[in-house]
């Protein structure tokens, strides 16, 4: 049996990533399109079911367009079951209220719901109102079946009564689980659960912002003789990259640009890119972020530069014996309870001001 494990699509969600209004709309359409494409992939590759491990939608008020798209996709593939488990973002939504809900749309509740496909059993339950502890105890799986469990939450080693949406891995060990299909974390991660099974976060299929970098897609599952094999399938229409560029020895804007260009080599133009500048630069070093942004922003779908990680390359020898207001200022800043970024900014501001330079250029 073949299955597709996906989750955290967050359809209709607000987007960040420095996108303008038009691109935000386009990106939202792409999120929907990816959902449809995943269903097509599942159908084309003979999957019997698509496991949606929560957060299909971002909020309860789902737009009409998204509703129609999801409904039509479910109806378009009647031979593929859509096993949809609601996550913390999925409140009561239109799929539950859907009149004449198609047979291939299968939902879960706050108690365990089991769907059997031959010797493959897919169990799932939604975390609500602290039902976690009760759920763990009530999960019963036959050791002779191939058992897949669907949950949405943050993994913890042990049970926690306080936290909702907590997947207590300890409580799920030795429960005859072969594959624990999880949602909630937006990056793919797969690790051993116990001697028998693994737990796997499929991640989100598309990165929505620069906090969702890396390869995105879904997990493809194949069961045979009570064994589950799994593989991650990168599927995002666009990838989100965060590229760290060390500009320690770059003292001019052009030298920073060259370093950035070298670091960005090979990244497709369709992708979203965030460059985080790192390293420690001399106080005299300059870089024009507006210029740099302009140089790269047309080359990628979205582009952003973050230089908050850049520190100041300033050894104590350089300022400790500077008997001047400047030296006193540097000493004061460097000894102050500031982060690296704060120190850099304060020094840049102060020294530019003392040098009579334009201070607003620091921002």
């Amino acid at each position: 049996m073949k299955l597709l494990h996906c989750g955290d699509l967050h359809l209709d969600s607000a987007l960040s990533a420095n996108l303008n209004s038009e691109k935000k709309k386009q990106r939202k359409s792409e999120l929907l399109s990816t959902f449809v494409s995943m269903a097509e992939y599942a159908a084309d590759h003979g999957a019997e079911a698509i496991l949606i491990a929560g957060d299909l939608f971002d909020k309860s008020n789902v737009t009409k367009r998204t509703q129609n798209m999801v409904k039509e996709t479910v109806l378009r593939f009647p031979f593929v079951d859509f096993l949809y488990l609601k996550g913390n973002h999925d409140e009561e939504n239109f799929l539950e209220e859907w009149e004449e809900r198609p047979e291939n749309l299968k939902l879960f509740g706050t108690e365990w719901t089991y769907y059997r496909y031959g010797d493959v059993v897919i169990a799932g339950a939604e975390f609500r109102e602290g039902n976690g502890n009760r759920l763990y105890d009530s999960l019963v799986l036959n050791r002779n079946d191939c058992n897949i469990v669907l949950l949405h939450g943050q993994t913890e080693k042990y049970r926690s009564a306080d936290k909702a949406e907590t997947v207590a891995l300890g409580a799920l060990k030795n429960k005859n689980i072969d594959y624990l299909a999880l949602g909630h974390i937006h990056s793919y991660r797969c690790e051993a659960l116990d001697g028998r099974g693994v737990y796997c976060y499929c991640g989100c299929p598309e990165g929505r912002g620069f906090d969702e970098c890396g390869e995105k897609g879904f997990v493809w599952l194949e069961t045979e003789a009570q064994k589950v094999s799994h593989s991650f399938v990168p599927f995002a229409s666009r990838s989100v990259h965060e590229v760290f560029v060390d500009i320690s020895d770059a003292e001019t804007t052009l030298s920073v640009e060259k370093k950035m260009r070298d670091a960005l080599t090979g990244i497709p133009e369709k992708d979203l890119v965030k460059v985080t500048l790192t390293g420690k630069v001399k106080l005299s070093a300059e870089r024009d972020l507006q210029y740099l942004t302009r140089r790269f922003e047309d080359s990628y779908y979205a582009f952003k530069i973050n230089d908050r990680e850049v520190g100041i390359a300033l050894s104590p020898e350089e300022y400790e014996n500077d008997i001047s207001l400047r030296g006193e200022f540097i000493r004061l800043v460097m000894q102050g309870n500031y982060t690296e970024e704060e120190k850099r900014m304060l020094l840049e501001l102060g020294l530019r001001a003392l040098a009579g330079e334009e201070v607003e250029a620091c921002f």
Binding site: D12, S13, A14, L15, S16, S21, K24, D58, K59, S60, N61, T63, K64, E97, E99, E317, N321, D322, I323, S324, L325, R326, G327, E328, F329, R331, L332, V333, G336, Y338, E342, M345, L346, L349, G350, A353, L354, A355, G356, V359, E360, C362, F363
Partner: protein, 796 residues
């Protein structure tokens, strides 16, 4: 620290130059161009090295280029000094680039290379960078009071570190940052201006719009609930409708079967009814049913016969007519007179009578004319005679009167008027006699004419009498004819002839009618023979043949129609029986609900469903309208996120600015507090050492002395009034500057004493002040090693 010895291998113009230092004051008195400033620069370079400078740097600032030996020798040398009880030898060579420089420190007690200090020797020894060192320990010519003593000590210190051209940087920097800070959060926040306030306002506005959107979402909920309720009602009604439709179906099936059964019964009943009718009519027709065409033919013949009866009636002879015919037959037994002959007689008789009467009339007229002419002749003759007489008399009278007059004229001339009147009467008589004569001729003419007419009339009367006699002879033919057929009844022959002619015509007419009557009767009998036969065959009365034939025809038509209907009824029944077995119609059970009731219920439920669906749609539309408005929430959230991000960035930037300002302010305060106390104390000390009367407190209280305030502004109080140093002479300023510089050295060099290099700084001093300066220098040399470079003996 104490300098011991130095060797200049090559530095500017100094070549292989060695100088042994002594403790205290070292004086080098040499002419201009000897290399005193170069020597001072060499000493500084030994401690701090030489900075890298590009080719674009001014020569004054590019020491590495400026002091490169002109002869191309190695640039460098060494310096021996004592510090912390140890004597070291610091050797340096300078390449074209900083990387080519060498540094070596030797501990002279062991002659081994020492790592006690690195190539940053000056900084490690004095705790000051090169700039601070040079600006505090090096006093160049005319530059002691450089920038003027009007500036605060703080500014001097700033200047010392930053360079002359950057004087006042702190104030400018602080102002610049302060202005920038105000762009973020102005001091007057009531204006709600500034980046932070504006973005906060935007964020608040967006938040309120988002909340409004969410309220829309909330507003949609009751409508969604109502929609669900309506949907439930609709579903329930639909379920009931399903049950109802089943009932309707059952009732419908029952009704359909019942209808079929009814239909079948009707078919059978109709068939039977037609069968009976057919049979009853068949009995009327005995052996055979007549053909409609036969009946129709007979009926047409009968109708033709009826049409003949009119003709018959017209030919029929009444009894009077029959006797008249009989009489006429007898009268004309011998034959019928020729009509033409009668007509000729009548015509002749008429013409003769006409001519006769005409002749008689003409005769009478001519006779009358003759009589009248006779009478007229007589009258005319009489009248002519009278007129003749009258005329004769008149003429006589006239002639008589004329002769008388002629006589009187001659005699009685005096009576002229009377004579004239008598003449006029005579003339009148003549005229009158003429008129009577004319009348006489006319009347005589007329009498002659009338006599001629009388004669003509008498001639015509004669002619007419002859003709009348002739015509009376011709009228005897008609009488002869009348006598032959005994027709003479009256004297009027013409009338009798006419009557004979009428009788002949009457006889012929009656005879013709009798013959036609006989022919017509024979034709009618022939036409009625078939009809009578047919009616007789079916035992019907032959009195009203047409009516009975019509009855027979109708009867036959009825029979044929019924036979046809019967056949159709049989076919329909058989067809029905083929389609539906009559057995299946047996044993029908009544449904639970009648069809009508079920229909009524269905209508109710359909109405209920429609109402619920309408309400459901209405609620859904309303909810969707709210939700559509709420859809803007995502976009607003994105905007809010963006604005919040910008706000956070601006707040962060504001934080950086305020912290920078704070640090700058603190730096200034710390800088001041760290150096200024020692500086002010040292300044007072050196001012005292100077022994300048102007700066010493006057016992009479006229002078309060010189002092630096908290901002290190130097002020002189004289005669109860504070004055700036600018009021004093250049020499005085130089002395104060010297005191300040020494005080500065005291303040800055807390760990290790530097070597003070004075490059002929006292050129502006008069003799008295020079003494005080040299005294101060000697006193200072007790504390510091001083290298005093001077170009004139007078200032040694």
């Amino acid at each position: 620290m104490l300098l011991k010895r130095c060797y200049v291998q090559g530095f500017g113009k100094l070549q292989n130059f060695t100088y042994e230092f002594t403790e205290g004051l070292n004086v080098i008195c040499a002419e201009n161009g000897w290399g005193k400033s170069t020597f001072a620069a060499f000493l500084r370079a030994m401690f701090y090295g030489l900075p890298q400078a590009s080719s674009r740097t001014k020569l004054e600032e590019a020491e590495r280029r400026k002091y490169r030996p002109w002869n191309g020798a190695v640039m460098g040398g060494f310096l021996e000094f004592e510090v912390n009880g140890k004597t070291y030898k610091a050797e340096r060579t300078f390449g074209k680039k900083e990387a080519e420089d060498t540094f070596r420190l030797t501990d002279l007690s062991t002659n081994l290379e020492s790592a006690d200090f690195s190539d940053r020797l000056g900084e490690e020894l004095f705790g000051l960078d090169k700039e601070a060192y040079s600006r505090s320990t090096y006093l160049p010519q005319n530059k002691i009071s450089d920038g003027g003593m009007n500036d605060s000590i703080g500014k001097k210190l700033g200047k010392m570190a930053e360079g002359e051209e950057e004087s006042g940087n702190y104030d400018r920097a602080f102002l610049c940052l302060e202005e920038l800070r105000k762009k973020y959060i102005p001091d007057r926040q009531k204006d709600e201006k500034g980046y932070v306030a504006e973005l906060t306002k935007q964020a608040t506005l967006l938040q309120s719009r988002i909340e409004a959107c969410r309220r829309k979402e909330e507003s949609a909920k009751p409508w969604k609930e109502k929609e669900q309720e309506a949907a439930e009602q609709r579903k329930q009604a639909e379920e009931e409708l399903l049950v109802c439709r089943k009932q309707l179906e059952a009732a419908g099936a029952y009704e359909a079967l019942a209808a079929k059964k009814q239909h079948y019964t009707e078919l059978c009943g109709r068939e039977e009814s037609l069968r009976v009718k057919k049979k009853s009519i068949e009995e009327l027709f005995a052996d055979r049913v007549p053909a409609l065409s036969e009946i129709i033919d007979c009926r047409r013949d009968a109708e033709d016969a009826v049409a003949l009866s009119g003709e018959l009636r017209s030919y029929r002879l009444e009894s009077g007519e029959l006797s008249e015919l009989s009489e006429l037959q007898q009268k004309f037994f011998d034959g019928i007179p020729n009509r033409e002959e009668i007509q000729n007689c009548i015509r002749n008789e008429g013409e003769i009578n006409l001519l006769l009467s005409q002749a008689e009339q003409d005769f009478r007229q001519e006779e009358e004319k003759g009589n009248q002419a006779k009478k007229a002749k007589r009258i005319c003759m009489l009248f002519a005679a009278v007129l003749f007489l009258l005329a004769t008399v008149t003429f006589i009278g006239a002639f008589a009167g004329k002769n008388k007059a002629k006589t009187e004229q001659t005699t009685e001339v005096r009576e002229t008027a009377q004579q004239k009147t008598s003449s006029t009467v005579n003339t009148g008589l003549l005229v009158l006699g003429s008129v009577f004569a004319l009348g006489f001729f006319v009347s005589g003419g007329l009498g002659i004419c009338k006599a001629k007419g009388e004669r003509l009339a008498e001639s015509k009367i004669h002619d007419y009498s002859t003709e009348i006699e002739k015509l009376k002879e011709q009228g005897e033919q008609g009488r002869t004819l009348l006598l032959r057929y005994k027709g003479t009844e009256t004297e009027d022959v013409t009338a009798d002839l006419y009557r004979l002619a009428e009788k002949v015509q009457r006889y012929e007419t009656l005879l013709s009618r009798k013959e036609k009557l006989e022919q017509c009767t024979a034709r009618r009998d022939a036409l009625l023979a078939g009809s009578i036969g047919l009616l007789t065959e079916y035992g019907m009365d032959t009195g009203d043949i047409t009516g009975n034939l019509r009855i027979l025809e109708n009867r036959t038509r009825d029979f044929l129609r019924i036979a046809e209907d019967f056949e159709e009824a049989v076919n329909l029944r058989e067809q029905f029986e083929k389609e539906t077995s009559p057995e299946s119609l047996l044993g029908l059970e009544l449904p639970e609900v009648s069809f009508a009731l079920a229909q009524e219920r269905e209508r109710e439920l359909l109405g209920k469903i429609a109402r619920a669906a309408e309400e459901e749609k209405d609620c859904r539309d309303r909810a969707e309208a709210f939700l559509a408005e709420a859809e803007a929430c995502t976009e607003l959230e994105e905007q809010q996120e963006e604005v919040t991000g910008r706000l956070e960035a601006k707040k962060r930037e504001h934080f950086y600015i305020t912290e920078t300002l704070k640090c700058l302010k603190n730096a200034k305060e710390q800088f001041s507090s760290r150096y200024m106390r020692g500086l002010t104390e040292g300044f007072q000390k050196y001012i005292s050492l100077l022994g300048e009367e102007d700066f010493v407190k006057n016992t009479e209280g006229n002078f309060n002395g010189i002092h630096a305030d908290i901002d290190l502004n130097i002020r002189v109080t004289a005669y109860g009034e504070e004055k700036e140093l600018g009021y004093f002479s250049t020499g005085m300023k130089d002395l104060v500057g010297l005191c300040m510089r020494f005080a500065l050295v005291d303040a800055l060099f807390t760990e290790e004493s530097p070597v003070l290099v004075l490059d002929d700084p006292f050129v502006n001093l008069d003799e008295e002040k020079m003494k005080r300066a040299t005294a101060l220098l000697r006193e200072t040399a007790k504390q510091y090693q001083v290298l005093y470079l001077v170009c004139h003996e007078s200032r040694v």
